[in-house]
């Protein structure tokens, strides 16, 4: 069986000398929570019908879909009719940017985003430029934060929307969303935030945050892949990107992925149950990881905001280290992490987030993101703190650059 062969096997107590496996890439993807998996699996063969069908099979699927919508809407402080399901945060963000720009053309052709948005926002904005829109990309400070005053200054007569992510996926920095939202309200400009990294981890409430549109995703909160939502405040004009059979009140056509959405809602409930306990637990582990790395490894530095940060993300950079080599060395010791190095990207360009935060490419190459989650344990932190210094030392041993003054030679 091909699929089985590619699965990374968990270390069992019986397996001698096998590599310990530590997953520290929860910001990239989370495993489905076993409790969620159990319930979704139980519904897998039963809830199969098209939720648009009028017969009882279809209505059963419809009930699951609408119940899920109600749960998720209530969690973000919205009404059910303001929540639209999509297949991914990428799709939600595409819909928010392109849909709002298209439906509000009569108002203007200018949108504002931050320079550290996820690729799906960056690329959607770039596409809008090719369609005659103008885009302002706001810079960030060295912690990766947008200055709300910059948003106010960038808004002009033809601005229709602003999109600034709630927390950045690479460095974890949390943006002053409430303040930006307030400015947008005053200036009568729509405001969207991508909350893929925050929903289920820190409180997300569309009213408190002053947002008109918000993206949240299932696969970042231990739900299945294939489900996400876009909150659209009632009264906001938005055009669909996917046209067809009128699902999701005509905003997103295509047969609803009812079971993934069901899993999304179950995962959200689970996240809400755990949040009060989980946030301090993750923060404690993350801070210990951070202190340990910065103390034991010479030439290591923190990326992102030291305080205003989601509790599970740690991003550091090491002088004279190339990230892809670091990631593979870690992987060979069973540790899964990620980097903003150019060599690890399909485009061979260093992380636009780290560059926007003022880093030089050679610094961004040496970045490492460790992101913790529900199944992270203190012993995982110990294991990484033990393995990492030796890996860094080894890579520096091979490198011609050993001291900072040699960079320019």
């Amino acid at each position: 069986m091909i699929i089985g062969n590619h699965m990374v096997k968990k270390t069992t107590k019986k397996a001698k000398n096998s590599v310990r496996r530590v997953y520290m890439d929860y910001a990239a993807a989370t495993p489905v929570d076993p409790k969620v998996a159990k319930k979704v699996n139980a519904a897998l063969t039963g809830v199969f019908a098209n939720s648009m069908s009028f017969h009882s099979y279809g209505q059963a699927a419809r009930a699951v879909l609408e119940e899920s919508r109600a749960i998720l809407a209530q969690m973000i402080g919205a009404q059910s009719r303001e929540v639209f399901f999509t297949s991914s945060a990428t799709e939600s963000n595409n819909l928010a940017i392109k849909g709002v720009a298209s439906a509000n053309k009569h108002k203007g052709n200018h949108i504002i985003i931050s320079s550290i948005e996820h690729a799906c926002i960056m690329e959607s904005a770039k596409w809008l430029e090719s369609q005659g829109f103008t885009v302002t990309r706001l810079g960030v400070d060295s912690f990766g934060q947008v200055n709300p005053q910059d948003v106010a200054n960038a808004i002009n007569q033809s601005t229709v929307m602003v999109s600034v992510m709630h927390a950045n996926n690479e460095i974890g920095t949390i943006q002053p969303i409430e303040e930006i939202g307030k400015i947008c309200r005053e200036k009568n400009v729509l405001f969207h935030t991508d909350a893929a990294q925050t929903f289920g981890k820190i409180p997300v409430n569309v009213k408190k945050m002053n947002v008109d549109l918000l993206t949240a995703s299932s696969q970042k909160i231990y739900g299945p892949k294939g489900a996400a939502l876009l909150y659209v405040r009632e009264g906001v004009k938005i055009d669909p990107v996917i046209h067809g059979g009128g699902q999701e009140s005509g905003l997103r056509a295509g047969t609803s992925n009812v079971l993934a959405i069901y899993g999304f809602a179950l995962a959200a409930l689970e996240a809400r149950r755990n949040m009060a306990r989980e946030t301090p637990r993750l923060k404690k582990m993350r801070d210990r990881l951070q202190a340990g790395i910065l103390k034991s490894i010479e030439g290591s530095h923190l990326n992102g905001h030291p305080q205003k940060r989601v509790p599970n993300i740690l991003n550091v950079w090491f002088e004279f280290i190339e990230g892809e080599s670091l990631i593979i060395q870690l992987d060979l010791r069973g540790i899964a992490a990620s980097t903003g190095s150019a060599c690890s990207s399909a485009k061979l360009a260093p992380s636009h987030v780290l560059i926007a935060a003022g880093m030089k490419p050679q610094e961004a190459h040496g970045s490492l993101r460790l992101s913790l989650g529900r199944f992270s344990k203190d012993s995982d932190v110990d294991y990484v703190l033990k393995a990492l210094p030796a890996i860094i030392q080894r890579l520096r041993e091979i490198s011609p650059f050993k001291k900072s003054e040699e960079t320019n030679s």
């Binding site: 200055n147 190339e322 892809e324 060979l332 060599c343 041993e397 490198s399 011609p400």
Partner: protein
Amino acid sequence: MKKPTRKLCPAQTGGAYTDKVIRHFQTPHNYGKMENPDGVGKVGNIVCGDVMWLYVKIGRNAAKKEIVQDIKFETFGCVAAIATSSAITDMAKGKTLEAALKIDKAGIVKELGGLPPVKLHCSVLAADALAEAIYDYYQKKERVIPKDLEEKHQRIAAEKKIIEEKYKDWVDIEEKIQSKRAG
């Protein structure tokens, strides 16, 4: 013990590395600085993420022909950069200078059992570093430089310039963001 292989190690580069690449990467051959080398080749740029330095010591074989008697490398870069550096030292050691100069991208890739397409430039970098080291040796000895090698050296120098231009772009981007932040 089942060694973690490429199955457990899907590189983020759009293609997995071969076991041989991973072996060279994990236990590279002939790395470190060489004292009093006869020639040094320095290629790549830290801004792009790959820097290779190759050191050679030149000796003579039984037929009195000049050979690469010893070779060492120091590399900053990705898995492919380190593996190609290690592989080329194995391939060049003991070869006559003429034969060493014939080591090319295709030969290195074959030696490693393949490289992901996006990483092929690393094998070019390794071959260039070796050519530059031998060029450096010829120049120090005030030898007549073979036409092929001179052309190669000119190409590498031209590419270095392009990379420096690219670096200039990065400076521009930084300045743009800085000025936006100030404004």
